[in-house]
Amino acid sequence: MNSSRVISTTVILLCFLVASVATLGSLFFSEIMNFVPCSMCWYQRIFMYPLVLIFLINLLYPDDKLFKYSMPLVTTGLFFSIYHNLLMFDIIPESVVPCVSGVPCSTEYINWFGFVTIPLLSFIAYFMLFIFLVLGRRRY
């Protein structure tokens, strides 16, 4: 293993898995199940999709800067997903949702076990990435 590496390879592989599953999952919802993504979903996609490639490239060509360029994407996406979940739980009222076209951001497409919605899945993915990157860095 590369000694200058700050985050361990295993953690990066985990991050890559989380980002990939989130990406493929969101594509499954929109392309296969035909759910129309709302604008909040698009913002979260924008910050999740590049992470797949960033983690992948770092796994193939390791360097010690991964934290620096993945964290801004993760925190921005995390911010959007927190906001989106607050909308879903009615903590922020619908009227301030910045949605103009098509689907309102509080549309509930799936509801597994009574509480698992797509925005919650997104939040879990971002939160896992955040934790992995922060803890993965210290542990080394």
Partner: protein, 215 residues
């Protein structure tokens, strides 16, 4: 280099898993749709209000979600026409509407008025033939249809009267509801005995229709 192997393996696993998930999901949708097709007179694929054609001797129902103002519908029209003409004894073609464009509703009302005179297909043909003229982007001129439609051999006075009297709101809203039940958002969309046509091509449509006829 051990890392790279693990990474490539993971990548492959993700892709294979994704494709497997798609296959499983689509099969489950198809079997659910076939169950729907078998019960309640074929609803939500078939409704009594819908225009339908063909003898249906082999009990093969082709459902098309259509919008007269949609370019893809116009482009695909010769293909469905050809396939259906070959098998109009064996199958039934049911037309459902998804009025997604600005003047779709207007055009559908005209189509339904033409249906009263048994000139539905002729009118649809004319609408598609001149679609570029009356449905030009950002400059639609639906009123031009009145000038084009006599070419379909319609009694225009009667067409006008039927157009003014017909009320298609209920029909359109039920069609839209069924479309959303079936996950249909765009036109043209086809189902053959409840099986979704996943690729808009002559070969794919013909294969699907024949697989249902010679089952």
């Amino acid at each position: 280099m051990k890392n790279k192997k693990v990474v490539i393996f993971t990548l492959l696993l993700l892709v294979v898993g994704f494709i497997a998930a798609i296959t499983v999901y689509q099969n489950s949708v198809d079997s659910k749709n076939q169950e729907l097709m078998a019960g309640k007179n074929g609803a939500p694929f078939v409704r009594n209000h819908s225009p339908s054609f063909g003898e249906n001797k082999d009990n093969v129902i082709i459902t098309e979600f259509l919008d007269p103002e949609c370019e893809a519908c116009s482009a695909f029209h010769p293909i469905i026409k050809e396939v259906f003409n070959d098998y109009k004894l064996e199958t039934k073609l049911v037309i459902r509407y998804l009025a997604n464009h600005q003047n779709s509703k207007f055009a559908v009302r005209l189509l339904e008025a033409a249906r009263v005179q048994n000139k539905y297909n002729e009118a649809l043909e004319i609408m598609f033939k001149y679609q570029e003229k009356w449905a030009k982007h950002h400059n639609t001129k639906p009123e031009l249809l009145w000038e084009f439609l006599p070419e379909a051999g319609l009694d225009m006075a009667k067409l006008k009267a039927d157009f003014e009297n017909n009320d298609i709101d209920e029909m359109l809203s039920l069609d839209r509801k069924d479309a959303s039940t079936l996950g249909v958002r765009g036109t043209p969309s086809f189902f053959v005995n409840g099986k979704k046509l996943r690729e808009l091509s002559h070969k794919a449509l013909l294969d699907l229709v024949e697989s249902e006829i010679y089952k």
